[in-house]
Symmetry: C2
Subunit: 83 residues, 2 copies
Amino acid sequence: MTLVKVYVTYKKSILDPQGEAIKKAVHGMGHTIIQNVRMGKYFELTVSDNAQNIDAEINEVCDQLLANPNMESYRYEVMEENK
Amino acid sequence: MTLVKVYVTYKKSILDPQGEAIKKAVHGMGHTIIQNVRMGKYFELTVSDNAQNIDAEINEVCDQLLANPNMESYRYEVMEENK
């Protein structure tokens, strides 16, 4: 099995209301050293060993399901195979 | 400024309904090589340079705000300083 980690975040140009709300809460807790907060989605996909082209499959899943192409961008890491 | 990346996921013992739903959708798209999907939250925190103890601050923010200690676990990475 191979573990693929996917990170989906808002594009820089998009306002991140959740991030803003969390930043206010964090400052309310007294953690003013935290200057900015951006929130996104994180996925761990377990891929079977007989995958022909992991990159093509992961890109398609991200483009068509996990990330909204209008507002979000994604990146992923294919981790060392964990037997 | 220092970038800290935080990953919050359900504890292994907790059912991940969103992950299950995404897995079904992914299989419906024909990507049956994807055996399992776990979904979590991803945060990018920008921390100012005068932070005394980043680890203590980040742990407190995670314990008290970003992660639900009953159901979720978190890990974080302090990235190289991006001037």
